[in-house]
Amino acid sequence: MSQSIHILIVDDEPHVLHVIKQFLQRKQFIVTTAQNGKKALDAYEAAKPDIIITDVQMPVMTGQDFCEEVLKRQTKKMPKIFMMTSRTDKQLRDWAGLFPVIEFLEKPLSLRRLSIQIDKVLSGEL
């Protein structure tokens, strides 16, 4: 099943991209990475991922803008979006409340927690 699942990771920290990519690849997912929202949009268009994991504070295009753009361009199937954030402010939560496809992943990120969440998505629990 995992073989057919495509995951897009977006973060301005190369280390983060590197580690998560390795981790997910080991779990047999197809992984694409991007360093900012703009590059991620191109990757999204090309790959049509099932799951997106994105940082919020990024240069060029923020995670928020990227998500809105993705949701605007949605085709037949809506990807599940995980936002990695250290921000717990109300404004971001309120904004995310508008989109049921968005989930939050608190920083510092745990690979185990990420794995559990992805499993939940795949089992249809999320």
Binding site: D12, V19, Q22, P59, S86, L109
Partner: protein, 596 residues
């Protein structure tokens, strides 16, 4: 009173009458005797009327001033009438000759039915022989008035009797308004002041007036005292009011007092600073007359329209019309009389300029977001690598070393950020104490430069240190100054372009050392340049946003240099690079002062 006046008039009249009668009797007495003597010296023949003309006796009747003389008669020795005259409408009483004193003048009272006479009898001679007697009769004056006085008494009495009723009528007429005034006064006094009420309601105008004036006098004294007392109280109250008003004027917030009808009764001058409205423009007006902000109007109208029990203190925040950069908070406090929760004495309104607080809390919030991002990013990486190591699936040695190196780097980054934060908060709160020591500047800059450039070695940058090995030593807090210089160098690296240069130039001047960090990186826009040393300031530009930073490094460097009485300067141009200089005095400003 009138009775008394009439009595007096009668008594006086009586006395006058009595006196006049006595006087007339005296006149009669004198006249009688002298006339008797005169007749007695004239010979009988001359007294009697003869054919040739009137005798002397006849002359008496022609005398215009006959007075009270009623009759004169001559009789012979036997009492037979020889001649007689009468001046009044009477009959001569019968003679009663007194022969006892033949030669003297004899006076007596003679009574007749209608009249009383005083009669004088004198001897009359003819050729030196007693030839007969003469009689002169005077009317005895009545008590009161004799006819001659009637006109006189009439003259006196008429005006008196006319004047009495006139006077009385006049008196009545004059006192009528007075009586009315007294009645009015009484009702006035009753309504105005119970202390002035007259004791009796008698109709004695004069008495009432007198009582009234006495009471009014007393009351005026009392009122004067009361007025003096109330003047003192007024002065005291004025003083206290002025004090309260001047206190309200000095309050740093705008203070308004609104009465229970919503009309502003007091406004202090701060209103002008805070809302741009002068107090004169609001006093005497209701909120909708001076405010165009519907939020303010509906907020304030609660305090003078709604049920009193609903009123409680409340606060709103609004952006005033035409002052969009400001944030004003408006608090309203219902005023109650002491101990009377239900009373409504108006509303106290306090306007506070919260612009700075809102801005700084916004800044603070942004800063916290930023710092938490900056803190969590390295933590995130550490967590991820640590987990990878734990999983131990991909356990080749080189990737493990890579992971551990990354963890070490991130821990260093975290440490630097935390120490920057701690230092800046220490400097901000004034809790930092410089640990100054003699430092050889040459080795200090070499050491610092070496550490920073080693970390940046992996990049394509070229590092240049341009220093004189003969540099002297200087008093510095070595650790803090290292942070200040490192921040400039790490910024030069962070904002560099690929294959760029980072140069540290150290110069010794006669009184100063100048440490200059030069890069040929992205540069700083003219817009950002004045703000680069501000705490938490980060440029909006994408080029800068792409690079991680927390807006603390330069602020901290500046603080540290200034703690050393030095100066920090910047020159930059977008795309050309930046030059930051730290200028340190060889002797501190304080020492310079002492040397002078």
């Amino acid at each position: 009173m009138i009775g008394a006046a009439l009595l007096v008039i009668f008594v006086i009249a009586g006395i006058v009458a009595m006196d006049s009668r006595d006087k007339r009797i005296e006149v009669i007495h004198k006249d009688g005797r002298s006339l008797s003597r005169l007749l007695s010296s004239i010979a009988l023949e001359k007294l009697v009327r003869n054919e040739s003309g009137a005798g002397v006796l006849q002359l008496l009747t022609h005398n215009e001033q006959v007075g009270d003389l009623a009759y004169a008669e001559l009789v012979d020795l036997s009492g037979t009438s020889l001649a007689s005259v009468i001046t009044k409408d009477i009959t001569i009483p019968a003679i009663q000759l007194n022969t006892t004193s033949t030669f003297g003048i004899n006076e007596r009272a003679v009574h007749q039915a209608q009249n009383e006479f005083i009669e004088y009898q004198m001897p009359i001679f003819s050729a030196n022989k007693l030839a007969g007697y003469g009689r002169l009769g005077y009317m005895e004056p009545n008590i009161g008035f004799n006819l001659t006085d009637v006109s006189y008494y009439g003259q006196v009495a008429l005006p008196v009797f006319l004047l009495v009723p006139i006077f009385y009528l006049l008196f009545r007429r004059e006192t009528k308004p007075l009586a009315a005034a007294v009645t009015e006064m009484q009702s006035f006094m009753k309504s105005q002041d119970s202390k002035l009420t007259l004791a009796n309601d008698s109709n004695d105008i004069i008495n009432n007036l007198q009582t009234f004036f006495v009471k009014v006098g007393q009351r005026m004294d009392e009122l004067t005292n009361e007025q003096a007392h109330s003047q003192e109280t007024t002065i005291l109250l004025n003083y206290q009011r002025n004090r309260i008003e001047s206190a309200l004027q000095s309050v740093p917030d705008a203070v308004l007092v609104m009465d229970e009808m919503g009309v502003i009764t007091f406004a202090n001058s701060r209103l002008k600073t805070i809302l741009g409205i002068s107090p004169d423009e609001v006093i005497g007006l209701k909120p909708h007359q001076w405010s165009v902000d519907p939020q303010v109007n509906s907020f304030l109208s609660k305090y003078y329209t709604n049920n009193k029990s609903l009123q409680r203190s409340d606060v709103i925040e609004f952006i005033p019309e035409g002052l969009s950069e400001k944030t004003i908070s408006m608090s309203a406090y219902p005023l109650r009389a002491l101990g009377k929760a239900e009373s409504n004495m108006g509303t106290l309104i306090i306007l506070r300029d919260r612009t700075q607080e809102v801005l700084s809390s916004k800044e603070q919030e942004e800063f916290i977001n930023h710092v938490s991002h900056e803190l969590k990013s390295p933590l995130n990486i550490i967590q991820l690598y640590a987990e990878t190591l734990l999983d131990d699936v991909d356990n080749d040695r080189s990737s493990r070393i890579d992971s551990l190196n990354t963890i070490v780097d991130e821990v260093e980054r975290l440490t630097l950020l935390i120490s920057n934060l701690l230092n800046i908060s220490k400097i901000d709160s004034g809790n930092i104490k410089l640990n100054k020591q003699h430092v050889k500047l040459g080795s200090f800059v070499e050491d610092t430069f070496e550490k920073v450039s080693r970390a940046g070695k992996s990049s394509s940058l070229k590092f240049h240190l341009n220093t004189d090995s003969t540099l002297g030593s200087i008093q510095l807090d070595k650790e803090l100054m290292r942070i200040a210089l490192s921040n400039l160098l790490t910024n030069a690296i962070k904002y560099s372009k690929p294959n760029g240069n980072v140069t540290l130039l150290v110069e010794e001047k006669s009184e100063q050392y100048i440490l200059t960090v030069i890069d040929d990186g992205v540069g700083i826009s003219a817009e950002d340049l004045p703000n680069v040393f501000k705490k938490f300031y980060r440029s909006e530009s994408d080029v800068i946003q792409q690079r991680s930073g927390h807006g603390l490094g330069l602020a901290l460097s500046k603080d540290i240099v200034e703690l050393h009485h030095g100066k920090i300067t910047v020159q930059s141009e977008v795309g050309e690079g930046s030059t930051f200089s730290i200028i340190l005095n060889k002797q501190s400003a304080f020492q310079n002062e002492v040397m002078k």
